[in-house]
Symmetry: C2
Subunit: 275 residues, 2 copies
């Protein structure tokens, strides 16, 4: 039994410090039994070995990162990305992940048609539904912050994610991932979280530092920034989500340089009041 039943740590939070083979026993020693797995780290470990390791330590895999990235206008690249996503779905099934974290993809330099990029990403997602359904894998659409619209995701709001989900008509397969860092600024947040309802398949937490210095790699520890994370948690719980709070902190100059035990102790200390 875990002391932190609703806590998961995305392994990106200790990206620079730990392999998968290292982080899983480390989390278990800290009585944390939720983890989100990144693909490069799983491959480094070996998919079968990683799946066994996760089972051996009784880990709930709260997400497999990342699928999607299907916005490229080159048909060859698009087909290759689709094939890649089929492998990702198989791997997610093998590690029993609660969802694939699914990102739309950004814009390629020189391409300015954002509507077309959105249409391609949506089409790609629709083409993957049969495989995901057969594998019993949920595709968790995660809107990212508009500041990474060009580089990472043309899907930028909860409203857009809900709209896509409505269009796809596959509620058993398509979920929605709420990440506080990506959506906290959104004036429509409460209504769109309520609209997502039980489609919410993961809840990621990180804080926004007032003096943030980087577009991707300067996330804050819950409690250190301006996001009212407990309020957003209340919104997702009111919407019907009862799963873990997954701490996902990309932090090149701070948390990625610290001792992993220290990072986890701080996460646990913040668990009750700051997330």
């Amino acid at each position: 039994m875990s002391d932190y039943p609703q806590l998961s740590v995305n392994q990106a939070t200790l990206r620079e410090q730990c392999s998968l083979a290292e982080i899983v026993p480390l989390l278990a020693r800290h009585a944390i039994h939720g983890v989100a797995v990144w693909r490069d780290k799983l491959h480094e470990c070996g998919v079968k070995q990683g799946a066994q390791l996760l089972r051996d330590h009784n880990m709930t895999v709260t997400g497999y990162c990342v699928g999607g990235l299907l916005s490229d206008p080159d048909p060859t690249v698009f087909e290759q990305s689709l094939e890649d996503n089929r492998r990702i779905i198989e791997e997610a099934a093998e590690i029993n992940a609660q969802c694939v974290v699914f990102l739309a993809g950004g814009l390629v330099a020189g391409v300015k048609d954002i509507d077309a990029a959105r249409e391609r990403a949506l089409e790609g997602l629709s083409l993957l539904i049969p495989e995901a359904r057969a594998a019993g894998v949920v595709l968790g659409l995660e809107p990212l912050h508009p500041m990474v619209c060009a580089s990472r995701s043309v899907l930028s709001t909860m409203k857009a994610a809900n709209d896509w989900r409505d269009q796809l008509e596959a509620p058993d397969v398509v979920g929605i991932v709420v990440d506080t860092y990506n959506v906290w600024w959104d004036p429509d947040l409460s209504q769109e979280i309520a609209r997502a309802g039980q489609a919410i398949c993961a809840f990621h937490v990180a804080d926004w530092l007032v003096d943030t210095s980087d577009l991707r790699l300067d996330r804050g520890m819950p409690g250190d920034g301006v996001i009212d994370i407990p309020r957003i948690r209340a919104l997702v719980e009111d919407a019907g989500y009862g799963g873990p709070r997954e701490v996902e902190i990309f932090s090149r100059d701070n948390w990625w340089r610290r001792d992993p035990d220290e990072v986890l102790e701080i996460i646990k200390a913040r668990y009750r009041h700051s997330m």
Copy 2:
């Protein structure tokens, strides 16, 4: 008669190179007769002297930057900001600016109630309407990019700006500023620009670089990034806006280091096809 009747240059584009006394004759030599003025630069020149300079060079002042910043929860700070905005309105009238560029303001470190910050900014704006009306000055609400929500503006979308304008019921005084860099990612952009209609009082252009490296000071020259600026210009023109395209590029490591004549030549070269 200007060769570039629809072109304006926001003086932030040459912030590091030119004072107001320098940029106004420089623009005139380049046959550009639109400029947006920043308050610190006007004060450096002297308000009366600056106003005379602008008249002498037949400049259309497409905006006065910046007013607002009224989100602080400290009542004393709020009152001081209101007083400051009253001076800003007087100065805008003196230089015959087409609008005050009005920013909501961000969050103070330690404050997490974004809804309350929005309410204060909206209340502050409402309190300034009588003075603005008496002075014949338009307050141009500019939604900023969500990545500066904490530091600069809790007003992040065209929809939110339109909602505020509806609530204020002062269509003669409250306008909306569309800045391509701030709103290009918004999936509701076309409908909210159409909704703003003739309330659009300024159109700012800058491009988003795919590899942008800074949250505020790495804007791109129109044509160098991923924003389809001509498409957004068509949207604002379809909505009824017939005014200038104002080039506003904050660029610490590139355009702020270049020769001002070179920057203006490039802007003029991009004028016809990239904005």
